[in-house]
Symmetry: D3
Subunit: 243 residues, 6 copies
């Protein structure tokens, strides 16, 4: 049940306490992939899982701007302060819970959101009338290609679920200006706060290693993992654990 396209009277008849909130980002993904990559991919996984789940799952509209200041030097990247982002996510989850959808999975498509989502999910679990768990789709798949940034994993999922958004004719250019690895490392500390310090065109990894076929597998795998998580989340108690 997508909130955006449903009426309130239709939703009032749905019996469920499960919801997913896609969390994306508007940020550079190299010369070949759109700024909406993370949002599109999070939506694809959220919708696929909602369809597959045995019980109804409410799908909230995706949060389009998130924690992405790291890409600030690449044109078009938008971002919000982590505190604002957490407050926004928390308010959305709590309004979902106000309608009885109080077990919420935050379906995330952007690595830069992971820490902030972990913090806000824990705060919701401890202090609000809802249970929330973050789920980052590319952490849940087993692939022989790297995650990178605008790399084969993300590009493959786009090629499968939103093929018109990938500039196939720029994949070579994307690969040529890419770096091999995220960050500028000393030991296990990344010294570079922003990505332009270590990637020329914003890409990390070689997007040519992906394919629409791989994207289909990834979506399948991620959606299954999310369905399994929803089943587990359905068993959690939504009451605040720390009050």
């Amino acid at each position: 049940m997508e909130l955006t396209s449903s009426t309130w009277t239709e939703l009032a008849e749905v019996e469920t306490d499960l919801a997913v909130l896609p969390v994306g980002s508007t940020e550079q993904h190299g010369p070949h992939a759109p700024l909406g990559t993370d949002t599109l991919n999070a939506e694809a996984v959220a919708e696929a899982a909602a369809e597959r789940h045995a019980d109804p799952v409410v799908v909230a509209p995706a949060i389009p701007v998130a924690v992405a200041e790291e890409h600030r030097r690449f044109t078009g990247t938008l971002w919000t302060d982590e505190s604002t982002f957490r407050a926004y996510v928390r308010d959305v989850v709590n309004s979902l819970a106000a309608h009885g959808w109080d077990r919420v999975v935050l379906v995330n498509g952007h690595g830069g959101n992971v820490a902030a989502l972990g913090e806000v999910a824990a705060r919701i679990v401890r202090h609000d009338d809802a249970y929330a768990a973050p789920f980052t789709w590319f952490d849940e798949v087993d692939a022989e290609v790297n995650m990178g940034h605008g790399g084969p994993l993300e590009t493959s999922l786009l090629e499968h679920a939103n093929p018109e958004t990938v500039r196939e004719d720029r994949l070579d250019e994307a690969a040529a200006g890419a770096s091999d690895r995220w960050g500028d490392w000393q030991g296990r500390v990344n010294l570079a706060v922003d990505s332009h310090e270590f990637t020329e065109n914003g890409v990390v990894g070689d997007p040519r290693e992906g394919s629409a076929a791989l994207g289909e597998e990834l979506l399948d795998e991620a959606a299954d993992a999310l369905v399994a998580l929803l089943d587990a989340v359905a068993e959690r108690d939504p009451r605040p654990t720390a009050e």
Copy 2:
């Protein structure tokens, strides 16, 4: 230029300092119109104006959840605190401005956002490196039908721009449970903070008074008004006026 579907390299070649940020809401719009009504309509107006404008206009992704606690009792309505909403809008505008798109119109589709948008736009004008102006599309059209809520104006624009989202077979039901007027008034003070106090099914006004043809006129009129506003905004100085 839609940010969501563009790549950063494409955007880097665009010469403009104009951007529009659609601001919607996810909230009940009666039994006949979807929760995404305000977002869809704001996007439709923003995109139409961006297409018509002589110079390129950057179109940011729509903010999907906003100031809508007033509809909290109708299933599916999502909301955020006004402070969080303002902070989120301000961050998005400032990241647009970081790329040189520092004259931004906030294209709004929801009456409940008006006050908060006015406050944050003034703060941006006075204190940030950007000029921002709020534009609420239905305030800019001259129509013989009322605004209401889920009423003929909003429904008409949906019927034109997103016809599949309107449940035409429920328009009678929508009209039957609608109230005539927004609010519970004593003099010119609305005593009712929340809408369930004065409307049974969430509708104000009679959506049957609208039509797709009217919607086309409304979109035309609103898009023209927005184009004219963009021209005026292009002349404003983005530097902070109060520092």
Copy 3:
């Protein structure tokens, strides 16, 4: 019962749950009217209504500095951030409510406060142990003259209730430098965040169109409207509606 001049032992004997909180501003009102115009007028209306009301009404001290940054370029204007203003109003209302005066009307004398008062009143209604409603006196009167700023409405009420504060010998000067209309408009969007952009001497409208006699009528009308609102507010439930 004015709080400022009463003792706590006198107040402890009052049986009422009604209070009014005058909300003014310290801001330019042209060469003919004092910076305290909005505060003086809000107090005049609040006191007149409290006197007329059948049951006792507690009158809190007026808030003297509010949302007036728009007049920052005119000497002597004071202002506070909207967030601080709302927090201050909320704290005052909640301390009134702590004594059992938990139906509070915010009697406002300044247009720039309207949005912020609406926001904080709704927050109080939903989340605190009080009911609050904003009342802007000049929105409640039917007059053939315009509101403007330092214009005939405000000047008339001063001429009646605080005649010594009006510089009658500068009314011509006031009118000469006044603008006809508030704002610098493109369609229905005011592009000018600050008033010096559209008024030379800070005045909007012609204060000579007013008079003490009109002021008496305005006070009468506004006080009656406020009495009626107090009666309506007395019926509201002070408990938080959203918790």
Copy 4:
């Protein structure tokens, strides 16, 4: 120059960089003195000093509600959170400074405000374009009677400057229910956060020990001290010291 009663054009001609901001409170002062005692006394001292000072001194409107939760159990006491109070004071001082009045004395009439005023004054000095110093009038006088609360010092100043506000016929009652000393002490730690724990009727000290004549002396002494402070403050640099 009182801001409240002046016009902006009059103020624009004043040559000074000195301002005083009276800071009061609305709180119980026993059965004999009004809730506005602290505000009235702060205003009296501020105005007297402004009159005596050789150069013009701008007098801002008094802040009427401040840090007084300690009296919450006595009817009519109003209070605001310390953080809100500091933000409000800081905004007012900064708007005074925006007009060139950037050496500001906070003329305080309430002991409960002292700590918060000290904190905000230091923040202004270090970080804002203004110099601010707190001045609590009763700390600057040498009297043989105690301060207390609603005691001889405060009552005397009222009896001189606002004699109609003192209920002389209740002085005996005030004294009868008064405590000797502020607080409930263990060593030099006051265990009682709120005043009802140690005073039956809110009074500390015997207000009968004061008189209008003493009040005249106190006003004289406090106003002289404030004039001297203004002279010293005029020599301070308003630029931020920590940036």
Copy 5:
């Protein structure tokens, strides 16, 4: 029972509701005393009292950085914003209370913390499930020498409890550059927000007037006062008084 060196299983067996939280500072104390002076002294008093008390007293780790911006110009001084400091103290007290240790004395070693501690302790008493009282050790001793800063009181306690930290060979230098009095006074107002305005080497008072023997007496006296305070605090109700 020191938290830092105990295991949770040991603490789980302790029967008490008393805790002390040492609050220090890292700030200049002249050429003879270490930056940790206030922390070391607060710890010494807290530990001595905990040992002497008949019932077990939990000793939290000392807060090492506090309200010390006034010493910013002397190398090595660290500080935090007052708001952050209060939030940090409040969180620590509330986590102590979560384990049943809900009567907490804030054992303070720094004059600059006094106002902020008073504010946060009152907030805890009124709004949280704990009772908290601030205790500043040097306010509780009767000595013939002055407090000053890095002066005889503080130096003596160091000489007794942490003798290795005092540079005895620099006491003459310390005294030579010291000022007699804290502040730059006009009447009873200190015009100097920062200490470098009135002391050349950061010292106020003559540290040579102290001694280890005096330090022993001071520790004895302060510890006894704290034991007595703990006894009094044990009788207070930890429930919030204002809710």
Copy 6:
């Protein structure tokens, strides 16, 4: 150069721009290790590296209470809100930078702090006059034993650097009640926000697998990694990158 034990005059002679800020926690570490484990270990690594480094390195006092609400059910655990923690760390780093020590490594001993430290370090790098990098000691060592919690890594370092704090006679008990793995997992999502959900006595891993000899190696390895990081950090530009 430890700040706590140094005088400001000594520090004023040090020529360096490097500082380390140990960040610990006060939280349960099973029946065998003290609540101060993370603080003690962070201090040990910070001090060892400062000693080894060719140039002087300023050592700030350790932050003793941090992000540890996850252990709230185990007696004695203290915690602060993540926002407060970040604000506290940021203030300390900025006061270090005010003395010219503007390349700061946050030497962390607690896994629960990692996300919050990453966020605040990036904020400092982008917006403040300092460069900061987080360093979590146990992420920098290569060991054949697991990290766990109160497990072999942490216990070994204690056994070497603070042997008196380890209850060797309770290692068997610690191991008996330990869990094998941190968290309650569904796929790669940890469903358990708090640790008591998956460990009986708070321990994860078998502390008996460690030893003082291993601890010595770990300290050596971690200190070397930190020295190398300090060398890299010394090359970074402390100016804000985003302003």
